[in-house]
């Protein structure tokens, strides 16, 4: 095998970076950020339309822009970035060349063509069918074809990732087991393969139906299989962004897992159980039994939730252990107070962790309770939940890791370091507001995907309580703040790539502290205890239990039904 491909040794981390992998990471990350900017702007327009006092767009444009928002951020931005993460976690972390870089480029081009094709279909105005494209709403055939091409491209990327794992093993570029981050990325890639398979099963017939080759698609079947794509693709994100939490805490603080076994076991639970979550969307649908709903919605007795709750301890726990090893040992929380809060990679990662757990995680489990879903399904509580998971969780984690990738892969220093420093806070607070106010409005019954809840021209109008309009206004304000944070991110990243000072052989960035490298030795006496993390976890647990039962109380107040 030809192994004479060019590589460089990164001065700051000692990682061996091959040119082929580097270029692909760059290309995927740049395209991802472009689509984030576009999709984010659409999102801002949606929020400003739902703010009664502003009511920015007319109805037809609102539904068009909402469709474009969903496609561009939930699919295009995230999956392009995930390709960059997969190539980084395989080729760079294992110090190996990328398997079949030409295939990887082919996948990249397919994804790009698909993304543009679907966007064109949406912007032409005859494909305002939302991200979910539920039949019998019909989009232009190119809408479905674009998504199919995009998915094929992503599938190619996953297999390049698997191929690189094999190559690294064969060429012995590392010893022992793959690093935890690579393990997590592998979990994400495996889930991606399941997910894309579900997508193919439902979208190929829908594509054929869109130009009349198939006459009828059952709505219940569509929803059941489509959510095997729609929800599972969010589980790729969970596995990917949790890997990034581990990656950032390792690179910035030299943290190492408290226990490899526990962290890997938690990832393994995702492969086994996360796929059942398609059920979360079917809890109030006809024709499906309660037994099926209860088993699937709980990921078989909450075993995937168990995985996430474990990471909720192990990620801050390893940070605490590394910090204590450095001497931040006073009291319960000195390790946290003296964490590098001015480093946007760290602050972004920690805010992502907190918001994903407290807002996204708890609300997700609660609304996924079979009966409680009755008071939440399709209200704006649902986007409230997934903006906490996908925006505050995944997107913020991806932004945070970008602050590491710019010096590491693009070899540029960050421009506007002051902006970078505050960006995760601005974006984080904005997104937290978006989530909380949408959830609040949802508990008052405000529907999602709805142009005008004041329903001025309806024959039988219904007045929502004033508090609902207040919440939607506050949601608009929060979206503005998140928008500012998003623009800051794009300006810093694009500015750094274009105009940042070149890093030749500098070792200024992303320096790990050698003292922390021996933060823990598994199972030995030296294993530091993590009392601060246990307190955090206890606070999380109490909030979880209280919020869970408060919602049962709300449920008990509605009309009896059976």
């Amino acid at each position: 095998m030809a192994t004479n491909e060019q590589y460089r040794i990164c001065q700051s981390t000692g990682l061996r970076v091959y040119k082929s992998a580097e270029n692909l990471i760059k290309a995927n990350a740049v395209v991802a950020v472009v689509f984030l900017a576009i999709g984010g702007l659409f999102g801002l327009m949606v929020a400003l339309t739902r703010w009664k006092a502003v009511h920015l767009l007319p109805a037809d444009w609102f539904y068009l822009v909402l469709t474009a928002h969903g496609i561009n951020v939930l699919i295009v931005w995230i999956i392009f970035f995930e390709m960059a993460v997969l190539y980084f976690a395989s080729a760079v972390l294992l110090g190996c060349r990328l398997a079949t870089p030409r295939w990887a480029w082919a996948g990249f081009v397919l994804m790009l063509i698909g993304a543009i094709m679907t966007n064109v279909a949406v912007l032409q105005g005859d494909s305002s069918v939302m991200f979910t494209s539920y039949v019998p709403l019909k989009a232009a055939p190119s809408f479905y074809l674009g998504i199919i091409l995009f998915a094929v491209g992503a599938l190619v990327g996953c297999f390049v990732f698997f191929g690189t794992l094999v190559l690294a093993k064969q060429e012995r570029t590392y010893e022992g087991s793959v690093p935890l981050v690579t393990f997590g990325a592998t979990v994400a890639a495996i889930i991606a393969v399941f997910t894309i398979a579900s997508g193919a099963i439902i979208l190929i017939p829908t594509f054929l139906w869109s130009f009349g080759y198939i006459s009828h698609i059952d709505t219940l079947m569509y929803r059941t299989i489509w959510w095997g794509l729609g929800h599972s693709s969010q589980q790729i994100n969970v596995a990917a962004h949790i890997s990034i939490w581990y990656l950032i805490s390792a690179v910035v603080l030299g943290a190492k897992p408290l226990s490899e076994k526990v962290s890997r076991g938690a990832f393994l639970l995702y492969i086994l159980f996360l796929q059942l979550a398609s059920a979360h969307h079917l809890l109030v649908d006809p024709g499906i039994s309660s037994e099926w709903k209860v088993f699937n919605t709980s990921y078989a007795i909450y075993l995937a939730v168990l995985g996430s709750m474990i990471h909720g301890l192990t990620v801050p726990g390893q940070i605490e252990a590394a910090q204590r090893k450095k001497g931040f040992n006073n009291g319960l929380f000195e390790w946290l107070r003296k964490a590098p809060w001015g480093n946007p990679a760290f602050s972004g990662m920690f805010i992502s962790l907190i918001l994903f757990g407290f807002l996204g995680g708890i609300s997700g489990v609660v609304m996924g309770v079979e009966q409680i879903n009755l008071i939440i399904h399709n209200t704006i509580y649902v986007p409230g939940h997934f903006h906490a998971t996908v925006v505050a969780g995944t997107t913020l984690a991806f932004m945070a890791v970008t602050y590491l990738l710019v010096p590491l892969i693009f070899q540029r220093e960050l421009v506007l370091p002051g902006w970078a420093k505050v960006q995760p806070y601005v974006f984080g607070i904005g997104v937290a507001g978006i989530s909380l106010f949408m959830m609040g409005a949802g508990t008052l019954g405000v529907p999602r995907r709805h142009w005008d809840i004041s329903q001025a021209d309806a024959i039988l109008p219904y007045d929502f309580p004033g508090a609902a309009n207040l919440m939607m206004g506050l949601n608009g304000l929060s979206a503005l703040l998140a928008g500012v944070g998003g623009i800051m991110f794009v300006v810093v990243v694009v500015g750094s790539i274009l105009f940042g000072k070149k890093i030749e052989s500098s070792s200024e960035v992303a320096k790990t502290d050698p003292a922390a490298e021996v933060a823990t030795k598994y199972g030995s006496e030296e294993h530091p205890s993590v009392p601060g993390t246990l307190v955090l976890v206890a606070v999380f647990f109490i909030s979880f239990v209280l919020y869970y039962y408060v919602n049962w109380k709300y449920l008990a107040e509605i009309w009896p039904l059976r």
Partner: protein, 182 residues
């Protein structure tokens, strides 16, 4: 570190720190509690979504609804018939682009079998302000046995996107005290 291969090659034999072990056990037990909470509510709770549903064509469902409307209409409002069916009976509500039809008038504390189906696309039955939300499919008829327990005027919002008229798709439902009509 998490970005390098495990320090101990045989990492799977390392003992698990106590803090992690305790949390895994607590989280697992909490999962069990949450799982059995759903099962418990099926046995003892009063709000469980019905498992009763049938396949039906739009024509048949439409015919059943119209038969009910013909028999029990008590007045008209904004061009909609207001139907006051007897307590305990089968009550039909049509979802279609873009209306909920007809207006139903139910008696407080009485139990009804409420049928829901769509004649065309997917719709979302969202009864406000009580905030009961159910997905409504074409070709499927769901039957919910329910007992309205607070009198008043309710709005039915569509909360599944169904095209450009989606936000105008509103219906109404009255709950009145026994034997009365509004």
């Amino acid at each position: 570190m998490s970005v390098t291969p495990p320090q101990q090659k045989v990492w799977w034999n390392e003992p698990v720190p106590k803090s992690e072990l305790i949390w895994v056990i607590v989280a697992f037990i909490w999962g069990l509690i949450m799982f059995f909470m759903m099962v418990y509510w099926h046995a003892y709770g009063e709000q469980n979504l019905s498992n009763e549903s049938y396949r039906i064509t739009a024509e048949d469902y439409s015919a059943k609804t119209e038969a009910m409307v013909e028999k029990y209409t008590v007045r008209e409002e904004s061009g909609y018939p207001v139907v006051h069916p007897p307590p305990g009976s089968d009550v039909y509500l049509i979802a279609r682009l873009w209306q909920w039809w007809p207006i139903l008038e139910l008696e407080k504390g009485q139990t009804y079998r409420l049928h829901l189906s769509s004649l065309d696309w997917l719709h979302g039955f969202s009864l406000q302000p009580v905030n009961i939300n159910v997905q409504v499919h074409p070709d499927y008829e769901m039957v919910i046995t329910t007992t309205p327990d607070v009198a008043g005027e309710y709005g039915i919002v569509c909360n599944e996107y169904c095209g450009i008229g989606h936000h105008q798709m509103l219906g109404r439902l009255y709950v009145v005290d026994n034997g009365e009509s509004k």
